[in-house]
């Protein structure tokens, strides 16, 4: 199962895989759909975010970034899972998997090629969406330049969050026998990670009523979930917690480096999980 191409040929092979995967995704309109979604939501949030600006002494872009953070927690994992759930199960169902696995290239590089293409699509969609929001904010409020750092931070953390869910999506895709089962698994993971997890934590915090769970365990549970780490990091870094959800109240209790570490560790963890799962696939 080892990679067998000469090292000099490995990078071109991975790039060729990524190029083909990128072509497939753009021809299936994934890039247009992802970028369109991001742009539409970014514009809506920029327009809606006009209320609190000025009076709080915050520029419009910083406020928009706070709203975009809350949106991205839901949208970025969703787009990443949509891009990735078909990666292995789809190839298995189409019957294209056995052939490629007989080529002198390891499973790691195959996954890397797919991930590179999907990450590029996600990044382009994010830049389109957030960029639109940035331009709109600057046009509406010339002092928005102050929020540029927050916007760039939002972009790289969104890419990291997306990479995590791409990896988890590949793992689900490799473990599912059919694309339909993989799609179900992806939706389940999305619900669990970005909706139910927070609801469960909220219920636990309410029941705990300021006890040991809230002070000791709660910050760790937030760090353990990549979506929550993403929210913590962006809100804490922007110190715009007041403008966002109640979970952000805990943001102050968690040092910035910890949420950053969680954000950076998760893509590696998800990638490793994807590779382990893909290696178990018998075509």
């Amino acid at each position: 199962m080892s990679a067998t191409l000469a090292p000099a040929n490995l990078a071109p092979a991975i790039l060729a895989l990524a190029k083909a995967e990128f072509r497939i995704a753009t021809r299936n309109r994934w890039l247009a759909i992802a970028a369109g979604l991001m742009v539409i939501f970014a514009l809506i949030l920029t327009a809606a975010g006009s209320g609190p600006s000025g009076s709080l002494g915050t520029d419009r872009l910083s406020v928009t970034v706070a709203s975009l953070t809350s949106l991205s927690v839901y949208l970025v994992p969703l787009i990443a899972l949509l891009l990735s759930f078909d990666a292995v199960a789809g190839e298995a169902e189409r019957g294209t998997l056995p052939l490629i696995l007989t080529y002198p290239i390891g499973r790691g590089p195959i996954l890397a090629g797919k991930a590179l293409a999907h990450l590029a699509i996600l990044t382009l969609a994010l830049i389109a969406g957030y960029g639109t929001a940035g331009v709109a904010a600057v046009l509406l409020d010339p002092t928005s330049g102050a929020g540029l750092g927050a916007l760039l931070r939002l972009i790289w953390t969104s890419v990291a969050l997306g990479a995590t869910f791409l990896g988890l999506g590949y793992a689900i895709s490799a473990r599912a026998k059919r694309p339909s089962a993989a799609a179900g698994g992806a939706v389940g993971l999305w619900l669990l990670a970005v909706v139910l997890y927070d609801l469960a934590l909220l219920a636990a915090v309410v029941a705990d009523n300021g006890g040991a769970f809230t002070t000791q365990v709660f910050p760790l549970t937030l760090l353990a979930n990549p979506a929550d780490a993403f929210r913590l990091f962006n809100l804490a870094a922007a110190q715009a917690g007041a403008a966002a959800s109640g979970v952000a109240a805990a943001a102050g209790a968690v040092p910035l480096w910890q949420s950053a570490a969680s954000l950076l560790l998760w893509p590696a963890l998800a990638g490793a999980l994807a590779l382990v799962s893909f290696r178990k696939v018998t075509p």
Binding site: T4, P12, A13, R23, G95, T102, Y103, P104
Partner: protein, 295 residues
Amino acid sequence: MLNLTSLTKQYGALAALSAVSFEVAPGERVALLGHNGAGKSTLMKIVLGLIPFDAGQVSVLGAAPGSAQARAGVAYLPENVAFHPALTGEEQIGLFLSLRGESPARARDLLGRVGLHDAARRRIGTYSKGMRQRVGLAQALIGRPRLLILDEPTSGLDPVSRRDFYALLDDLAAEGAAILLSSHALTEVEARTDRIVILSGGHLVARGTLSSLRAKADLPVTLQITPAPGQEARLAEALPEAVRVGGQLHLSSAQGQKLAALARVAGLGAMVADLDLIPPSLEDIYSHFSRRDGQ
């Protein structure tokens, strides 16, 4: 090039392959025959390192199946080969070239070799089954493979394409490549392979050249006798074991009794208008071997 010794594979209680042994030498074309479920695809996937096996030895180009050395020199054409419908033939073959460390610019040449030059820039989703099969064949030609594993390579090809395909195989074998191809019919592989291996229910039931299999099967020949006008009843009386088929009589004779049977019919003189000698068909020979193992 390829050496199988007592290869055994179980799927739970089901024996997919039972102690199968044979080899394919450089420049040799070997046909692997068997019904659906006889174990052909399983055997090929084991040789390619796609699935593990339970017992026996498999040596591919002197290495373990699926190893770096084996994968670098082995080409595969899967049964009902499929590609992503959104890519063009040229893009798909370009990708496969890159995966073998070759320049993707050679894609058009390769597609030209299998007669797909004009369709190279069309998406594979618009191709017919025969065209997809040709794309599959084109990718199997990449990088001068030393062993080709072709699973039902001629399915979906029209007779002319099939002849072109075998001509390509002849060239590859002449250059020293070993070829193992599967089929479910002996007529498909015709006289274009050097040796034949027949699997039935996971057992190797026969191997050898077509003529040696023909001799080993020792199936009877059929004498088709056309009676002279008005002589039908007398002829049937003279040959009581013959079977009436239409206006003719069919007489079955073992290979060793062929001349005696001919002499007997010749002795009937004017009663006989015509005589044809029908040797056992390829399908008869194949059925003889593939049914022997209790299928």
